[in-house]
């Protein structure tokens, strides 16, 4: 629906004075989380609960000839065993998700689920798994994206390529997409220099510390309850209902506290299996993944192979740019090659630009969304070439970016013309920051890079209820992944004109609200915030009506200001203001409880840009890289709770540092994952890092009443490139292959 975006009484362009928004109150779920009593996915139990475990394929690619579970079923304590045969055909929409949760004809990657058991203890469940005989016919496999595209590559799915895929490539290529405008060849012909480079990035995992976990209870009548750690319990409800062939309304899903997601908990893995086990055993079933299972069978992001070609004039003006982006998305279609193709050149105002994206399947776990899916790798490749060209001409890399920066009115590389955007502001802030002028030590280098992300909105419901004592409870349908309860309470308090601690925000289960889009796309503060503000405005309207009844005047003659209903002007009559508390106290006498609610598909999210600056030091004898200093400059639209905005900036930057330096999926010749643990899947630890400085810029999003833009994802787009540019300068050699692990950096230094 079209939204009236303006705050009443506020002229366009006029900065609003906030009382609560922009402050840093303590989060309402804080004490639960510092005392250990907050309940996460694995922290729930039920009477008579069974423990479920999954049997996983040890093969990268194998036909499943047969599964014999009779010995497992006969083991004392085993109450149910399920295989794919226990699931129906399911809707087409969820066919891939079902096949990923429980393999059908083929196991498509190392770690692919092939059967599951529910037993009276974890030990018995583990023992039962060993008693299941699976007859596999192993098949040739492929895990590398370029290898998988070759015509003679082992094929995962026959006939999957759609009409966009040209002849001469493997059927593993699912889809090809192209964006751009102008004539790149003509543009390259005009350039003083054309530079073409190829890049590779390894697959990385979202790396949330909480493994997937759920507790399912399902009866034979199809009525079911599910407790689960997820980024979207409504998505879990809808997906599981479709897979299990039950009505969405019969499945109530409650979101636990969530121990990190970053996109990796935007789909289902264990949940349909736990429900199927529970249905079969007719008892509650709890399932948790081990860390090994998390790494082998969930997440990760795509590994990529990218070619970038850019033409630049001596003055730094880019004449043309093109990129070919090949992303493998694991065993099923849907790698974010399209997002990479759309975002690759988004920070630039280009006359001639073309990107081609390839979605490729391989024998790896199905790629899940990871924070700005597809964008960081594309930015790594593009920003590396821009940097090399700029430095080749002896130009300041920030000046070159400013010279070519997308701004209001720029026709973006993916099509639309940008409205007011904050890229130049981030670049200018970077240029003016002391970090840019600070001296570098020996073996140190400084890199900068820009990044872009779309952000989006989606279906959102908020219900705001006034209690009899005049405090407020706010129900929303998006798991609080990083302080969003605080932001919602703040926006409701701001709008109602009451103190922050008078609002309590809760995450409602799927029975309490309508459909809510997943906590993804950096949407929550934007979309749920918008719905919160609108719900509060609806409540204020009712509150004004109640005051009007008491005063015996027209409701239109009452306005809400500073937490009270007041006569709107002298003509309305002279009455002392009525506070929220006063109106709440007489709610029963004036028509009943007061509430405001708002349901919307919150379209029209604003895009967001960031510039990152990083200093690294390279040990020339070992190739070890140390991050010495890091500063994030990002447009937040409006920072509702600045501490949590900074936290998003810092967290994204550090995930990017991991991706750039040490994180990678390592497969052996046998197609098995060699590092399914936090020992060798090396996410940054505290001693690896400096403080991460942040500069929040606020260029308001006209699509949100307070100007909010999403901030969660953009922060992971620039770091790969910024660090690569920094390391390349420090090492004296251009690094094009992520991660820049010490053996690679040392080899690059030694090979010049």
């Amino acid at each position: 629906m079209p939204l009236d975006d303006q705050t009443p009484g506020q002229k366009p362009g006029e900065a609003r004075q906030f009382k609560v928004v922009g402050t840093r109150p303590l989060r309402p779920d804080g004490i639960d989380k510092v005392t250990g009593r907050a309940r996460f996915g694995a922290d729930m139990s039920a009477p008579g609960m069974l423990i479920g475990r999954v049997l996983r394929s040890p093969h990268a690619h194998a036909r499943i000839r047969s599964i014999d579970a009779s010995k497992a079923e006969a083991l004392e304590g085993v109450k149910a065993v399920v295989t794919r045969a226990d699931f129906g055909a399911g809707d087409d929409d969820v066919a891939d998700i079902l096949d990923n949760c429980m393999a059908g004809e083929k196991a498509l990657y190392d770690g692919h689920a092939v059967a599951a058991v529910a037993a009276t203890s974890a030990a018995i469940a583990r023992k039962a798994l060993k008693l299941i005989d699976v007859d596999y016919e192993t098949l040739p496999h492929v895990v590398d994206v370029d290898a998988a595209m070759k015509p003679d590559a082992p094929v995962l799915h026959e006939g999957l390529s759609d009409e966009t895929v040209p002849d001469g490539v493997s059927q593993n290529v699912v889809h090809r997409v192209e964006f751009g405008h102008g004539d790149v060849e003509a543009g390259f012909a005009k350039a003083d220099k054309v530079l073409e480079r190829s890049f590779k990035t390894a697959a990385t995992h979202q790396g949330y510390i909480e493994p997937h976990a759920c507790l399912a209870t399902m009866g034979t009548d199809g009525i079911a309850d599910l407790w689960v750690c997820t980024q979207g319990h409504y998505m879990v409800r809808n997906t599981c209902a479709a897979i299990l062939g039950i009505d969405q309304g019969k499945l109530r899903v409650t979101a636990s506290e969530i121990g990190g997601g970053f996109g990796g908990k935007t789909t289902v893995f264990l949940e349909p299996v736990a429900l199927a086990l529970s249905r079969k055993a007719n008892r509650p079933v709890k399932m948790t993944m081990t860390r090994e299972e998390v790494l082998r069978a969930t997440g990760p992001t795509s590994s990529t192979s990218i070619d970038v070609k850019i033409g630049m004039n001596k003055d730094g003006k880019i004449t043309a740019a093109s990129a070919d982006l090949r992303y493998q998305g694991g065993a099923y279609q849907g790698s974010p090659a399209d997002m990479g193709s759309m975002t690759a050149f988004a920070p630039y105002d280009l006359e001639n630009v073309k990107t081609v994206g390839w979605d490729v399947v391989t024998n790896r776990p199905k790629a899940a969304a990871y924070r700005a899916p597809g964008a960081p790798m594309a930015a790594f490749a593009v920003e590396s070439v821009v940097d090399e060209l700029a430095k080749g001409f002896g130009l300041d890399p920030l000046d070159v970016r400013l010279k070519n920066a997308a701004r209001e009115g720029t026709k973006s590389s993916y099509g639309p013309t940008f409205p007011a955007i904050g890229l130049e502001a981030t670049l200018q802030a970077a240029k003016d920051h002391p970090h840019w002028k600070a001296p570098l030590g020996p073996n140190q280098g400084r890199g900068v890079a820009c990044g872009f992300w779309f952000n989006f909105g989606g279906d959102t419901c908020v219900s705001l209820n006034i209690t009899p004592d005049g405090t407020v409870t706010l129900s929303e349908g998006n798991p609080d992944i990083g302080g969003s309860r605080a932001s919602m309470s703040m926006m409701a308090a701001e709008e109602l004109g009451i103190p922050y601690d008078q609002v309590r925000t809760v995450i409602a289960d799927t029975g309490a609200l309508g459909q809510n889009e997943v906590t993804d796309g950096s949407r929550v503060t934007f979309a749920v915030g918008l719905a919160t503000i609108k719900a509060a405005r609806n409540a204020k309207k009712v509150l004004c009506e109640r005051a009007a009844m008491v005063w015996g005047i027209d409701p239109e003659a009452v306005e809400w200001a500073d937490g009270c209903a007041r006569p709107a002007g002298d003509n309305a009559g002279k009455f002392p203001p009525m506070s929220l508390k006063e109106i709440a106290a007489i709610a029963s006498n004036t028509g009943g409880p007061v509430a405001g609610h708002f349901e919307v598909n919150a379209e029209g999210a604003g895009v967001s840009f960031a510039t990152h600056m990083v200093d690294t030091e390279v040990d020339p004898e070992t190739g070890a890289v140390k991050v010495v200093r890091y500063t994030v400059f990002q447009d937040a639209g409006k920072a509702v709770h600045p501490a949590y905005v900074e936290g998003q900036f810092q967290g994204g930057a550090v995930q990017g540092i991991g991706w750039a330096l040490n994180e990678e999926y390592i497969y052996g010749e046998d197609g098995r994952l060699q590092n399914p643990g936090f020992l060798d899947y090396r996410i940054p630890v505290a001693s690896d890092l400096p403080m991460i400085d942040t500069v929040i810029l606020e260029i308001p999003n006209p699509g949100h009443p307070y100007g909010v833009r999403g901030v969660g994802e953009t922060s992971i787009v620039p770091p790969l490139a910024a660090i690569a540019n920094s390391v390349s300068e420090a090492a004296g050699v251009r690094m094009t292959d992520l991660p820049m692990s010490p053996p690679k950096v040392l080899a690059a230094i030694q090979n010049g």
């Binding site: 997409v177 192209e178 759309m342 899916p373 099509g415 993804d520």
Partner: protein, 79 residues
């Protein structure tokens, strides 16, 4: 006038900008589907539409003004 992405131009006789009479998002998508049947598989896979720089995924009755800039995009996903 709708701007479509590069690889769809095979469905529109090579035109990157195509003319569709539409006052809402739904009319636009129906019009595209009717005029260029070859584009239907892509529409079925899901698209996002940028109207004057704002992204819309689903809202059928989102108004489109005569002078609006309308761009068809791959369905935006997030993490």
């Amino acid at each position: 006038m709708v701007r479509i992405w590069g690889s769809l131009t095979s469905a529109t006789d090579g035109q990157a900008d195509v003319e569709i009479e539409a006052t809402t998002l739904k009319e636009l998508l129906d019009g595209l589907s009717e005029k260029y049947p070859a584009i239907r598989p892509q529409l079925q896979r899901g698209v996002s539409v940028s109207i004057d720089g704002k992204i819309y995924n689903d809202s059928w009755f989102q108004p489109i003004k005569p002078d609006s800039e309308v761009v068809l995009l791959r369905r935006i996903v997030g993490g």
